[in-house]
């Protein structure tokens, strides 16, 4: 309580309000997490810059190569966009399992990224889809970076205090195999014990390219390069499904916490990967 809130009316206005680069002046969109973090004393802020009603930050646009959407687009608007959900099926699966309808009506991808929670549900699919995020500041203009490069550790990002997450760009991925999995103690409003996304570019049953990302298994969402390297160029068969287990085991480093033991989370990460690969194999063999 006691925090001052400025309502930004435009993108320029928002960047102006953040320009002093004061770490205690924070951008906020839907506020679904910010209210709790400030209330619980997990974050200190003397002033919030609300971007919830900045029109330039709420849009979904596609061309032949990619889809761009504003960091302030409410999750329910992404979920209601049929083209988006058909193109980015793993992201759509994550959206459907994201918190509750009420929270999806306020929460944004910008917030989910900016919080840098290792359990963030939208981050694994977006990393697996090779999303880029565009950050902007009044002093230095725009920069675009791969989403995984933004995260430094638990709750830590490389986003400067005067920077705002402006938009997300995702290359077209309709032709790729996509999977998302989330494990929790119930279906709604649950923080993932483990979540993961796997995207495969398949040539028949051969894996041309693979992208894999895991949540809740490390201090930040993990892009699992060893898993990707293991899968790349490999035949999608039973031996690959068996063999990936050891690679995932080694790649993840979960801890024991209230949501589950490290051993359990490691097992979930392995099982989810194997399930996704088995589904991809079935699909590839069926369409060959």
């Amino acid at each position: 309580m006691g925090v001052e809130i400025d309502l930004a009316e435009s993108l320029d206005h928002a960047l102006e309000l953040l320009a002093a680069a004061d770490p205690e002046v924070r951008p906020v969109a839907g506020a679904t997490d910010m209210v709790l973090r400030l209330h619980g004393g997990r974050l200190k802020a003397k002033r919030l810059v609300s971007i919830a009603d900045v029109p330039e930050l709420s849009f979904i646009q596609s061309d032949h190569h990619s889809t761009r959407f504003g960091a302030g687009t409410f999750l329910s608007d992404l979920l209601a966009n049929e083209d988006f959900c058909a193109e980015y099926r793993c992201a759509a699966d994550s959206l459907r399992q994201f918190a509750s309808p009420q929270i999806r009506n306020r929460a944004t991808v910008g917030g989910n990224v900016g919080n840098a929670s290792p359990a963030a549900d939208m981050v694994p699919p977006l990393i697996a889809l090779e999303a880029q995020i565009t950050l902007g500041s009044k002093a230095r203009g725009m920069r675009t970076v791969p989403m995984e490069d933004v995260f430094l550790g638990f709750g830590k990002t490389s986003i400067a205090p005067d920077e705002l997450i402006i938009e997300v760009t995702v290359p077209r991925r309709a032709s790729w195999f996509q999977a998302f999995a989330k494990f929790g103690s119930r279906n709604a409003n649950v923080i993932a014990v483990v979540n993961m996304a796997l995207c495969l570019d398949l040539d028949g049953t051969r894996i041309r390219r693979a992208r894999a990302a895991y949540g809740s298994v490390a201090p930040k969402t993990l892009r699992a390069l060893p898993v990707e390297q293991f899968l790349q160029g490999r035949e999608l068969d039973e031996a690959t499904v068996r063999g990936v287990a050891e690679v995932v085991q080694q790649a993840v480093s979960p801890i024991d916490d209230v949501r589950g033991s490290a051993r359990y989370k490691r097992k979930l990460a392995v099982n989810a990967t194997q399930d996704a690969l088995a589904a991809a194999m079935k699909q590839a063999r069926g369409t060959r």
Partner: protein, 159 residues
Amino acid sequence: MKHEELTLQINGAKRTGVFPRGTRLLDAIRRLGFTGTKEGCGEGECGACSVVIDGRVVNSCLVYAKQAVGQKITTVEALGEGHPGGLHPFQHAMVETGGVQCGFCTPGMIVSGVRYLEDGGPLEDAPIKDALSGNLCRCTGYTKIVEAMKLAGKRMRGG
């Protein structure tokens, strides 16, 4: 603590109050007299504080009051307006099926349910349960609430 004056548009009328900075929408609307909206968990888990902002159901405990300035806020108090007996068909159906026991979750449940029915959501178990998944009820086991949704939906659609 510093205070500020906020004018909120609640159920079609402008209401002004003076609130401490950083006040949640939940606290503001309750202090303005709309006590149908309840605080359950205060963490966005239970949905007892559900209200509608510009057509979307949100947890009013997770929105700053100032962010809702200039937007249309609808609370449970307004949902029965213009309906026979001052009750929305879903409220009537909840009475009939016994969807209310202790009643604490009911206002939030009504807000989510009415929005879904007014939006023309399908009257099947899975999507209804999904629409109500942000509202916890510890008494009914949900069976009678889902029943009330279907009953109200049929009546609203002339079935």
